[in-house]
Amino acid sequence: MNFDLKSQLDASFSDEPPHLPLEQRLAAGRTALRRRRFAVSGAAVAAAAVVAIGVSAVLGPDDGRRSDPSPVEPPTTQTSQPAEVALTAAIPVDPDFMSWCAPRTCDAYTVSPVTFTADGTLVRLEDVVVFDRTDDPVPVPGGHSVAIEARFAGSVMWWLVWQDADGQVTARMTNPAGTHPEEWYDFLPQIVGGATGNPDGPGGAPAVVPVEVPSP
């Protein structure tokens, strides 16, 4: 090699876009950490509950050592399992759906990674990892909605998908960078009502992008 690649590469960057503000990077990190701790504590509670139930089963109800006759209440499954495994498994994969978007045919538009089938079942594209899912965050008369955080084609995004009484599915998306989860959830009813948010990014309502909904 008779040219200095390192020096040439170092010198190749001249006009770069600005970075996100550091406070936004911190905010995104804090949100992720809270979510992680919540998932871990939920898993610990679930494990403790499983142990308690197991001990109870081994000891039996009539061994004379139980002081509280009330049944053990298991925690809800929504928060008691590692989020990625539990929530991803909760959405079935439709093999036909994954082939809808062939390589390099989707460059001109965005597409929802999940949708509802005609019978209201939520399906996702294969390899989409759903980190967080909230069913019916927005009431839809005669239909239903779902809000998800998902990694899709290399990016983590927040999505709102809803199906109206006629079966019509609509999807909207925003970028978590610079948006607090509370802002996103607070804004969901307005999105269903047609609001598009602040296209310039942080500050006020999240920027909302309409996305294609492929047929499952």
Partner: protein, 164 residues
């Protein structure tokens, strides 16, 4: 580690290294918007793992590995698309360097097959050894050498042609 200490150390690291790390992401993917997304994803993961990663002194290696592997994951998807899931492509995206202003070398780099591009970035820009590059990319050292050899030949050919 107290939260204030964690955030101060994290912020110092990000402020000092984000430009370099985003350039690495850009060299790998060739798109500033995607590079921003890759970096943000990596920095969020870094924040979560900060106490352990900082204790081991692996902050930069940790981020770099996420950048490289995230991009690998994307390219392994059966229906990968170049602008997938990037809402900012439909908005007023931060002005990237225009095509005519882009460096001939960066353009040539983007023309390489993805694994050749990554071996060049890791070996000849970031200075990793053959073994480290193989580990980072999950391929054999022999494959690293062959990718590197072909990539450098292509780059040199392209730059020679452009310069003549």
């Amino acid at each position: 580690m107290r939260r204030e200490q964690r955030e101060a150390a994290y912020t110092d690291f990000v402020a000092a290294r984000q430009t370099h790390l985003r350039r690495v992401a850009y060299a790998i993917c060739g798109d500033w918007t995607q590079a921003d997304d890759l970096l943000q994803t990596a920095l969020v993961k870094l924040y979560v793992a900060w106490p352990r990663v900082q204790r081991d002194g692996r902050e930069e290696a940790y981020v770099r590995q996420i950048l490289v592997r995230a991009n690998i994951d994307e390219h392994r998807r059966p229906w990968h698309r170049e602008s997938a899931g990037l809402p900012r492509t439909e908005q007023a995206a931060p002005a990237p360097t225009s095509p005519e202003d882009r460096s001939v070398l960066l353009d040539a780099l983007q023309d390489l097959p993805v694994m050749q591009r990554k071996t060049v970035v890791l070996r000849h820009w970031l200075g990793l050894s053959v073994e480290e590059t193989a580990t980072e990319l999950g391929i054999s050292t022999g494959t690293v050498k062959s990718h590197t050899s072909r990539a450098l030949a292509s780059l040199q050919g392209t730059l020679t042609t452009e310069g003549s």
